[in-house]
């Protein structure tokens, strides 16, 4: 584990609303993490490639399009295929409550909806990434 937590914030899929992703990126920066921001419209393959090159501890996916049940499993699958199964995945955006258990079962380490306190979020992420 690197001395500084490195986390990739990515927006997979086609929705163009990146305000949330930017707020999260800024909050994690302020929590002392090194945040790699990739911008809009990333394919799962692009996200995993960036995660690999940047050797990140976690990937945060911001999805507001409703396509999370397609995109998240795909990102997790491609991560595992690339040998990055240890990289934690967090999801932010609009995720209906009934989808949460399925995503958690897939291995998503945390899901943050609208109104999440950014301090609570960054504390949770840090704790998830530093526990042995």
């Amino acid at each position: 584990m690197s001395e500084r937590l490195r986390i990739l914030i990515a927006k997979p899929g086609l929705d163009g609303h990146d305000r949330g992703a930017k707020v999260v990126a800024r909050a994690l920066r302020d929590a002392g993490m090194e945040v790699i921001y990739t911008g809009l419209r990333q394919t799962p393959e692009m996200i995993v490639e960036a995660a690999l090159q940047e050797d990140v501890d976690a990937v945060g996916l911001s999805i507001l399009s409703g396509a999370h049940m397609t995109l998240v499993p795909r990102v997790i699958k491609v991560l595992r295929e690339a040998g990055l199964g240890h990289v934690k995945v967090f999801v932010g955006g609009i995720v209906p409550d009934e989808d949460v258990p399925a995503l958690k079962k897939l291995g998503v380490a945390g899901i943050f909806g609208p109104g999440t306190n950014t301090q609570v979020m960054s504390d949770f992420i840090r704790q998830q990434l530093t526990e042995v």
Partner: protein, 324 residues
């Protein structure tokens, strides 16, 4: 070392891990760098610097694309600043480099400056060395958005591209020492915006003055034919206009360095600077380890109480044995 062996045969995750090791100055970092060193010295290291928002990342993206079209492999190291308060960083250079995704001939790494002030991170030169060792033909190094004095990139790059944009100040700005002096290639980006021709003319004037021998200097009376004059090129990086010309200038500069003997000269100078820097850091670390944090704090208090001044304290600390 397994990581080094794997990275040298093209394993990209091993390469990423190796870069982290070097960046964090981990326990095995020095051994890894020692093993890699004989493999280095092949890549053309090109620095790209300029003020924030001039279009460095976009230009790097376009340069890398053009190099790939020629079949050249490209490593990219993009540095962004760390917060001086939290140590956190927002590394956003990849946003402009999405065209390079999915190409195995490209490897992009974002680095936080981690407290370094010269426009690069402490470990940037080592990370560049790793990319050089594993065989990337060109390594592009993008600095943090540079002000006037962040000129460290010139010490690690063979060729330094300084990116300017229209409307960034008058002639006096251009006459100041620093960034413009390290330029081997000058780019006026955003050439479609008003003021671009003016900016280029202004740079032209400054560069022509730079090329003159200093008044009353001892460099002889005339400028040698063997002097490189930085070309001033206009680009619109957003759509790639002018980028092939920048690439040509970068290649021409590389050829100039090779044929004029400047390549070896710069290499020597670079190595000497690096040796001195590392020596300085190492000696400081050793001294501090010997003196101990407690004693340093005791000196801080004495200095704050006006009992001694900083120089007296340093004299005492560096000659060890003495106590405050």
């Amino acid at each position: 070392m397994e990581l080094v062996t794997k990275a040298l045969v093209g394993n990209r995750y091993a390469l990423a891990r190796l870069i982290s090791l070097v960046e964090d100055n981990g326990a095995d970092a020095r051994a890894a760098l020692a093993t890699l060193y004989p493999h280095t010295g092949q890549a053309h290291i090109v620095g790209v610097t300029g003020a924030p928002g001039t279009g460095k990342s976009t230009l790097v993206n376009e340069l890398a694309k053009a190099l790939r079209a020629q079949g050249t492999t490209v490593g990219v190291v993009a540095v962004d600043p760390s917060s001086p308060f939290t140590g956190g960083a927002l590394l956003g250079d990849r946003v402009r480099m999405r065209d390079l995704a999915g190409d195995p001939g490209v490897f992009i790494r974002s680095m936080a400056s981690r407290g370094s002030l010269g426009g690069l991170a402490r470990a940037t030169s080592d990370v560049v060395r790793v990319l050089d060792a594993v065989g990337f033909t060109v390594v592009l190094v993008e600095t943090v958005g540079a002000g006037q004095a962040e000129v460290d990139v010139a010490r690690i790059a063979h060729t330094t591209v300084v990116v300017e944009a229209p409307g960034r100040g008058d002639e006096v700005q251009a006459l100041k020492a620093g960034l413009l002096e390290i330029a081997d290639v000058l780019v006026v980006n955003k050439a479609d915006q008003p003021g671009a021709a003016q900016a280029a003319r202004m740079l032209e004037m400054v560069i022509n003055q730079n090329a003159l021998p200093p008044v009353g200097g001892d460099r002889g009376g005339e400028a040698s034919d063997n002097v490189w004059r930085p070309p001033i090129l206009k680009t619109i990086a957003l759509d790639g206009t002018g980028v092939p010309e920048v690439l040509e200038a970068v290649a021409a500069h590389r050829d100039y360095l090779r044929t004029s003997g400047t390549w070896a000269e710069r290499e020597q100078a670079r190595i000497e600077t690096e040796l001195r820097n590392v020596l300085q850091q190492e000696l400081l670390d050793r001294l501090l380890a010997r003196v101990g944090e407690e004693q340093i704090q005791a000196w801080v208090e004495r200095i704050a109480a006006r009992e001694v001044d900083v120089y007296t304290a340093v004299e005492a600390i560096s000659s060890t044995e003495k106590r405050p």
